[in-house]
């Protein structure tokens, strides 16, 4: 795999890939070699030449039936072995066999028992953003998941809309997140920044459903976590969120381009939903999501991100203040 493997599962996949790659390469060389040999050696040289009329050769044919069959058997064996050693799957008889549909309480209890996990994150994949909620329920981030490195993390993934797939190439296996089911992912990775994206086509902005995992040493992780909690309770905008909502839904046309779950805003022009906007890292993926930046954005989107589809809506300072207050309630 060209993305360097960092997890146990990814390394297993990588090993298997190398074995299979070598075997395939041998078959490739044999076949292409025979084609080239035939073309060079057996070109028609005289218009009337008549080669010997060979109809077949049973021994040879048995040979190229049996040898590939054996090769297939061996590779199958390797693969099953790899599967059995992967944490993401478990063997067919082990309790973790079926990571997808274990969504009743009994199954959940078995999961807790069977795997030592240091941190469990609730993940919601929705059109078109990944949202990560930390165990105490206070902190939710969008797009970027920050975890302690060298610890076993479990993600419990769900979706309120269509199928998505969570995948960090460096971690190995991807997994579908199906409506009405919970999918589970385990990983334990060294410090670093990893990037991946939703891997099932899930509608218009599927390409934007990118996600990052930042694995920090334990102490840095702790510090980051406390900072985030502190930021949550810090000062926000001074406007009136109630009035902001009214502007968004009625006085202005924000709703026609944007979607916010559970409201009349179901527009599809903006690539990302505003559901949970307060937890986004960025505004329009260009500037950090702070109250000041948001004011600037609403004042003139083009100034922040030239070429953006979002128009300048000529809002008054008071409107902006109220909208900022409202937007910051969208967690």
């Amino acid at each position: 795999m060209l993305v360097p493997p960092v997890s146990h599962d990814a390394r297993l996949i990588d090993e298997l890939f190398r074995v299979v790659y070598v075997l395939s390469f041998i078959v490739f060389i044999i076949v292409e070699g025979l084609i080239i040999y035939a073309v060079i050696k057996f070109r028609r040289r005289r218009a009337d030449e008549m080669p010997e009329q060979v109809h077949g050769n049973t021994a040879a044919e048995i040979g190229w039936t049996v040898v590939p069959a054996l090769a297939v058997g061996v590779v199958f064996g390797f693969s099953v072995d790899t599967l059995n050693r992967m944490t993401a799957r478990g063997s067919p008889t082990a309790p973790l066999a079926h990571v997808h549909s274990l969504n009743d309480t009994e199954a959940r209890r078995r999961i807790e028992e069977a795997k030592q996990v240091d941190l469990v994150i609730e993940v919601v994949g929705r059109q078109w953003v990944w949202q990560y909620t930390y165990p105490d329920g206070k902190l939710t981030t969008n797009e970027t998941l920050v975890v302690p490195a060298g610890k076993t993390i479990r993600l419990d993934l769900t979706t309120p809309d269509v199928i998505h797939a969570w995948w960090m190439p460096a971690f190995g296996p991807m997994i579908y997140v199906n409506p009405g089911e919970v999918s589970y992912v385990w990983f334990n990775v060294p410090p670093g920044e990893y990037i991946g994206q939703c891997n099932v086509f899930c509608g218009v902005a599927h390409a934007q459903m990118i996600s990052k995992v930042r694995a920090l040493p334990q102490d840095e992780y702790e510090r980051w976590y406390q900072e985030q909690l502190a930021a949550l309770s810090g000062p926000t905008a001074t406007g009136d969120p109630q009035r902001g909502q009214d502007i968004f839904m009625n006085q202005n046309i924000c709703w026609s381009c944007h979607s916010i779950e559970g409201t009349k805003a179901q527009g599809k022009v903006a690539p990302r939903t505003l559901t949970g906007f307060a937890n986004y890292d960025t505004i329009a993926e260009v500037v950090p999501n702070t109250a000041d930046n948001l004011r600037a954005w609403l004042h003139d989107p083009q100034a922040i991100k030239p070429g953006t589809t979002m128009p300048n809506l000529n809002l008054s300072a008071q409107d902006i203040e109220d909208l900022v207050a409202y937007l910051q309630t969208l967690k």
Partner: protein, 550 residues
Amino acid sequence: MASVSIPARTEYLRHGLVSWLATVDHKRIGIMYLASTFVFFLLSGLMALVIRLQLTAPGLQIVNQDLYNQLFTMHGTGMIFLFTIPCLVGFANYFLPLQIGARDVAFPRLNALSLWLLIFAGVVMEGGFLLGILGLLPGGASNAAWTAYVPLSNKQFSPQIGMDIWLLGVVLLGISSTLGAVNFLVTAYTMRAQGMTIWRIPMFVWAMIVTAAMVLIATPVLTAALAMLIADRNFATQFFNTANARLWQHMFWFYSHPAVYIMILPAMGIVSEILPVFARKPLFGLKAVVVSTILIGVLGFTTWVHHMFVSGVDPIVERFFMLTTMIIAVPTGVKMFNWLFTMLGGSLNLKTPLLMCLGFLSTFVIGGLTGVIQALIPLDMQLHNTYWVVAHFHYVLFGGSVFGIFAGFYYWLPKITGRLLDDKLGKLHFALMWVGFNLTFFPMHFLGLMGMPRRIATYTADRGWELGNLIATIGAFMVAVSVLIFMVNFVRSLRHGARAGNDPWEGNTLEWTVTSPPPEHNFDTLPTVESERPARDLRLAASNPTVPAH
């Protein structure tokens, strides 16, 4: 025979529009199949070029995301349902009756119905797409990928009428190909020439028999699934509204995996026809090739879950499907090696039809091997829905089926038009297409391994995907140029091409015993067959009457 007069010449080709619209002659129907599906190929190819342009560099916005999604949906649908499958049916229409020594198919009017259903469905789908991009269809055309996974394709997430149009088109195509399959099976079963016993059936006919059987068994299940989805969308039924995303996947792939063999087997049949002719040798191990073809057909129904390895199927079931998928490599390998050994020791006539077959062999094997690699569950967990898969299926579909189709064009168009295609231009076409094809799709393996998902309208610069995408786009335009060369070659050949005569290639099968183009009723007297190479028998008997033919 006295009661019918058969025109020796081919006036029937020049009867004007109405006679084409009303025809039930399998040859004319075949020609219309080939022509219309080639138009669909150009349209889908054009869409591919836009897709490639958009992906050339990070962050490009040649088309917006929604349009991009519509483009690859229609590109995939068009290439598969409107081009590859029916184009091969077109060849079968023209040549299956000729090859088995019959005057037509068993149900000529049903045959015409299949054709017009296909064209109607094509117009509906492409028309829906066009209206969509012109903004005349609220919400645009279908944009849920050719796999139309629920719940994305449900009313809730794809409210546009374009989605219904698309579904309707696929239903019609399913009916068209089911009717065609009944026709071919009955024709091949009941109308073979005297003496055409089971081991003397031409390979292309064998391929079509197995293909038709697969169509017959697989297609109705897709039709049922489509009916369910249409009802869900329009009559509020609850098939896919509850939490059961995998029901659609099972039913879709129960059809669509066999469909990939429906697209490759006839192309393999064409290759099995051409290689012996151009090597002047019988097909090596004919019986093994026949048995392998049948086995691929049967095993093709036992592998569909390999598209669902990460969507949450029971692990035991997954392992079963992993094994069955891998086993298909064995009969396919048997065919590969039998083809190779047909060439070895032969006298290879390196004209364009053979080159196209070499293109098939050299690229299909790559697609087959990448297929086996992603059939391994642990690897598929890493490769699924990446550009690796896109590379795989273009290597089998383009490297396999499309090279096979072009081999068929160069081999058989002279029979259809009576004129040879220019071999120099043909070689240029081949070279450009082969190189362009590999430039387009080989880098995609690496993109996949680097984690590039498919079906993304754009990507950012920090992922390392620029070079591969750039090369792929360049390659795609080389392919486009090569296709233009083919079109020029074809049009030129109609006026300036050398006369083909009955048998320009020293063919083996019965179509080469009649004039080019064949007379309206194919055969003055129905032929009798004494070996698997009846045309060769006749040729040898004519040149040397004293020596027994085989």
